[in-house]
């Protein structure tokens, strides 16, 4: 039976001592397409995947992956999930051909074409040892292995971190234009907004173990705007500014990055004494960073 959602959590919580890494998280990721998950370090991404893949039990709530309870995953279930992350757990002394042989034995649905398709972009020889591969080659190799499994769900955790531009491009091309990914749902964790902008159909923002936003990337960008106003003295108290993400004073002008504000915000600024007010849209990068930076500790405001 196919599930409509590849990932489904209901009020999922995970506590480590005093820290609540996942806080009643309700997340539903539909089948198909490429979903990017972003969040600052500590937002709960790694914990979420450990719980979803059954490596950690939840403190409360439920987690389901490909329609199965995460705590009850068997080898057949795991075979339907491909996982690529930055750390590599393959032993350095093993040869590429040996690893491939091992995977071929382990996965019934091994697709040699999918493997060849991806590995063909990399200069990887079957007799090479894993330790001899460059970072980019290892990333390509991991992707080739994961896709050859014919997974229904492919989870990538910062897969292009540390890759040079050539390797990065090859990786993204294999991910977006290969035949193997057409049949599977891709969940992609990354900090690199430039990449997410190119790749993601759906943007999921996690913060402090909660879901803060989920939509197409451009729909999120549309929620954020930058307003620049010429105001006397210090301007309104930060806590009174509606939807405030970031406030800065640059060359005597007040810059406000705000969320979900419309033309009423101009009225607010004028009421606060603004002589001139202008607004404009921002890039996805600026919008997401502003959103995530909001709750982080900032240096005390300097008096101007």
């Amino acid at each position: 039976m196919t599930a409509d959602h590849v990932i489904e959590t209901v009020a999922l919580s995970k506590r480590y001592g005093n820290k609540l890494a996942l806080d009643h998280l309700d997340l539903c990721i539909p089948r198909g397409r490429i979903h990017a998950i972003v969040g600052a370090n500590g937002a709960g991404k790694s914990t979420l995947f450990r719980v979803l893949l059954g490596f950690l039990p939840p403190t409360s709530g439920s987690a389901r992956i490909l329609g199965r309870d995460s705590r009850l995953l068997g080898p057949d279930d795991r075979a339907r999930i491909g996982f690529v992350n930055e750390e590599h757990t393959l032993p350095g002394w093993m040869r590429v051909s040996q690893v491939v042989a091992m995977q071929q034995r382990q996965y019934r649905r091994w697709n040699q074409h999918a493997y060849d398709d991806v590995i063909g972009h990399y200069n990887v020889e079957p007799r090479q040892k894993i330790a001899q591969l460059s970072r980019g080659e290892r990333a390509g190799f991991n992707l080739a292995l994961a896709l050859a499994q014919s997974p229904e769900l492919l989870v990538l955790d910062e897969p292009t971190l540390g890759l040079d531009v050539v390797a990065k491009r090859a990786f993204l091309e294999s991910l977006m234009y290969g035949n193997a990914t057409e049949q599977c749902t891709v969940v992609y964790c990354s900090h690199q907004m430039e990449e997410i902008e190119r790749v993601a159909d759906n943007l999921v923002i996690l913060e402090r173990g909660r879901l803060m936003h989920m939509s197409a990337p451009e729909d999120f960008t549309a929620r954020v705007s930058l307003w620049i106003a010429d105001m006397p003295f210090k301007g309104p108290e930060r806590s009174t500014v509606p939807g405030l993400l970031e406030a800065q004073r640059i060359d005597g002008l007040h810059h406000y990055l705000v969320l979900d504000q419309d033309t009423d915000f101009e009225a607010f600024l004028r009421a606060a004494g603004a002589r001139s007010v202008q607004s404009m849209p921002v890039s996805l990068d600026r919008a997401v960073n502003g959103f995530l930076a909001k709750n982080h500790a900032a240096p005390a405001e300097k008096l101007q």
């Binding site: 490429i34 091309e173 977006m176 234009y177 430039e194 902008e197 190119r198 159909d201 960008t221 921002v282």
Partner: protein, 136 residues
């Protein structure tokens, strides 16, 4: 010889305009200025996506918007082509869009303190440079 006409456009990430919109704007401009002719075949969805290193769904959406607006037409089993020129929007819609564009333009230049004659002359000059194949 390839049947597809090369589509010389670029996209920029980190731009306030979404990538899909950049594609729609760029293709529209190429058609309007005559760089692409009616009957020219556009790259496939996957082909353009690969050229720009972006998600094919983004290209598909941009192509769908251009087709809905009448700039492109789909030929069964063959691909997407530049549609023959015809009135793509109603007169009322054209008027409305022109008004909006004029307001945006005026808003941008009003503070620059040029004489209206000078602005008009400059506009006329740019218009001619942009659309050499269109009759005045």
């Amino acid at each position: 010889m390839a049947r597809t006409r090369a589509l010389m456009i670029q996209i920029a990430t980190g731009d306030p305009r979404p990538i899909g919109k950049q594609i729609v704007d760029a293709v529209r401009m190429k058609i309007a200025t005559g760089e692409l002719d009616p009957g020219d075949q556009l790259p496939s969805v996957r082909g353009l996506a690969q050229q720009l290193t972006i998600n094919p769904n983004t290209v598909a959406k941009a192509y769908a918007e251009l087709t809905a607006e009448g700039w492109l037409e789909s030929r069964q089993g063959l691909g997407l082509y530049v549609a023959p020129p015809r009135q793509r929007l109603s007169d009322a819609e054209r008027d409305r869009r022109l008004d909006e564009a004029i307001q945006r333009f005026l808003h941008d230049v009003i503070a620059l303190d040029f004489a209206p004659d000078e602005v008009q002359a400059r506009l006329h000059h740019e218009f001619l440079a942009l659309a050499p194949r269109k009759s005045a």
